[in-house]
C-alpha cells in the first residue's frame, strides 16, 4: 500500500507491472524498493568499496552512458541498443547463483548474499570486444578466486563452467539471435583462479544495470568480451573442457581461449586494431589486452592453434 500512496512516486515513475510484481517484495527489503524506483541505468549505491591498484593506467574511463547503451546481450536483442531498451523489466530478484560440481562445499547464493561473498573492491579494467571495439570499465566486485576458495574445488576440478540465466518469457528476442541458450562459457581452473579474474556486482559504484549483466557477471579482461558471461546463475567445477556458446555457434571463429591477440585474426576481420569508444581513429590492440601478467598461463602453448 505504501507504494501507491507515497508522494515521492508518481504513476509515471513506475510501470504498473513492476508495481504489481514488486509490491509484496517491498515489504521484504529496501533493496527492492530502490531497484523499483531507479531507472534501468542507475542502481543502488554500493558502500565500503575498497580501492585497488587496478586502474587501467592513464586511460580515460568510458562514460556510463556508453557502457549502458552499447551492449551485446543477445537474450535481449541483437542490436547494440536493444539490451538497454529490453532488459528494463528483467527481474534480478529473487536470484540464485549455484556453485557446484567438483567441489567439497557446494553453495547457493541469493541476491543479498552476492554482495557479501567477499569484500567488494573497485577495479578499472579494459574491456575488448571480439568485434574490435573496446571500453574502460570501473567495475565493483571481488576476485572469482575468493568464491572458488570457499567451495573448495577437489582434485578432479580442471575447468570452471559458467551459465547465464535464460528465461524465454523475459527474453523473447533470444530465439532470433542465432546462438543457443542458455549462454555458457568456461575457463581453465588456473585462469579462473588468476587474481585478475573478477566477479562484478557493480559498475561506477552502483549495482549493475540489467543490460550489463545484473546482478553478477564474470569479467576476464585479457580475453574477448564474450567470455565475460553475464547474469550468472551457475558456476560449475568440471573435469573436462566445457562447451562455450560462441564456439558452438562458429568454432572456426571463436575458440575456447579467445585471448586478446593482435597477431591472430578473426577469419572475417583483423584483430590488430580496435576502436576505443570515444576515439576517432583505431588504436593498436595489445597482447592479452595489455594484461601481460597472464602470459605465464600460456607458456608453451601455440596461441594461434588455441585461439
Amino acid at each position: 500500500m505504501l507504494i501507491r500512496k507515497s508522494p515521492d512516486l508518481r504513476e509515471s515513475d513506475i510501470t504498473p507491472k513492476q508495481l504489481y510484481v514488486n509490491r509484496r517484495r517491498f515489504l521484504g527489503g529496501s533493496l527492492a524498493f530502490a531497484t523499483l524506483a531507479a531507472t534501468a541505468r542507475a542502481g543502488m549505491k554500493l558502500t565500503d568499496l575498497r580501492k585497488t591498484s587496478y586502474n587501467a593506467g592513464d586511460e580515460k574511463v568510458t562514460p556510463l552512458e556508453a557502457i549502458t547503451h552499447y551492449n551485446n546481450f543477445y537474450e535481449f536483442g541483437t542490436d547494440k541498443g536493444d539490451p538497454a531498451e529490453n532488459a528494463k523489466d528483467f527481474r534480478t530478484q529473487p536470484w540464485t547463483l549455484k556453485v557446484e560440481g567438483e567441489v567439497a562445499k557446494p553453495k547457493m547464493f541469493d541476491y543479498d548474499d552476492l554482495f557479501k561473498i567477499a569484500p567488494l573492491e573497485d577495479r578499472i579494467y579494459r574491456h575488448r570486444c571480439v568485434e574490435a571495439w573496446s571500453i574502460v570499465v570501473p567495475w565493483a566486485g571481488f576476485p572469482l578466486a575468493a568464491l572458488l576458495k570457499q567451495v573448495e574445488p577437489t582434485s578432479k576440478a580442471k575447468y570452471v563452467a559458467f551459465e547465464t540465466d535464460y528465461d524465454p518469457k523475459q527474453m523473447p528476442r533470444a530465439r532470433w539471435a542465432g546462438i543457443s541458450f542458455p549462454y555458457v562459457e568456461g575457463l581453465r581452473l588456473d585462469e579462473a583462479m588468476h587474481p585478475l579474474t573478477f566477479l562484478a556486482v557493480g559498475l561506477y559504484g552502483e549495482t549493475l544495470p540489467n543490460q550489463d549483466g545484473a546482478p553478477i557477471r564474470l569479467v576476464v579482461p585479457w580475453k574477448y568480451g564474450f567470455k565475460s558471461a553475464k547474469s550468472l546463475v551457475k558456476i560449475r567445477l568440471v573435469g573436462k573442457q566445457p562447451p562455450t556458446t560462441w564456439n558452438m555457434a562458429a568454432s572456426n571463429e571463436y575458440g575456447f581461449y579467445s585471448n586478446v591477440n593482435p597477431k591472430v585474426d578473426h577469419p572475417r576481420w583483423s584483430q590488430a586494431k580496435e576502436r576505443r569508444l570515444g576515439e576517432l581513429f583505431k588504436r593498436d590492440t595489445l597482447m592479452f589486452n595489455g594484461y601481460t601478467e597472464v602470459a605465464g598461463l600460456y607458456a608453451g602453448m601455440d596461441l594461434r592453434k588455441n585461439y
Binding site: 568510458t62 556508453a66 571500453i135 572475417r268 583483423s270 576502436r275 583505431k282
Partner: protein, 215 residues
Amino acid sequence: MVLFAVCLLPFLLLVLPLWQLFTTGYSPALTANPVEYITHDTGTWTIRFLLITLCITPLRKIFHEPKLTRYRRMLGLFAFFYVCLHFLTWFVLDKSFSFPDMWADVLKRRFITVGMLGFAMLIPLAVTSTAGWVRRLGFAKWQRLHRLIYFVALAGVIHYYWLVKSDVRLPLMYAAILAVLMFYRFYIWKQTPAKPAPAARSSAATTPNTASLPD
C-alpha cells in the same frame, strides 16, 4: 524536388547529430560507436536505394505508369552516393587512409571482396547515368551495361550476409526482396514472345522505351 529531399534525409539524419558529437563528445543518435553506426547505416541505405531503384521497372509495368522511370536515375545515383559515404567512412576511419591496409582486407576478407566488387561495378553505372552517355553508347549497349545493377544488388546482399555474426534476419530479408524483384523480371522475360533480333528482344523484355528515358 520533394523526392530529392526525401532521399537526402538519411544523410541529414547522420550529419546533424555529428554536430552534437563534435561539441559534446557523445550523440545518442549515433550510438557509443559512431563510426560503426555510420558505416552500417550508409551501407543499409545503399542496399535500400538499390532495391528501390530495382522496384521502378516492376511498378511501372504493373501500374502502367511510364512516368516512374523519371525517378530511376536519381534513386540509382543516391545508392551510389550512400555507397561512396559507406566506403569513405570505412577507408578513412577504419583503415586510416591506408591503401595497404585496405587491399589487405579486400583480398583477405571475402565479405569485403564482394563489397568492393559491388562498389566497383556501380561506378561505371553512375558515370554513364546521363542521357548523353545513352546516346554515346547507343541504347542497346547502355542497357546491357546497366544490367550490372542486378549484380551490384546481389553483391550488396551477400556482403551484408557474410558480415553478420549470427542474426541473419535482415540480410535474408533484403535477399528475399531482391529475389522477388528478380523473379518478376524473369517472369516478364519468359512471357515476352521471342523476337528475331536479340537487341530488340532484350529491350522489349525489361526496359522502358527511349521516349520515356530521363533527360
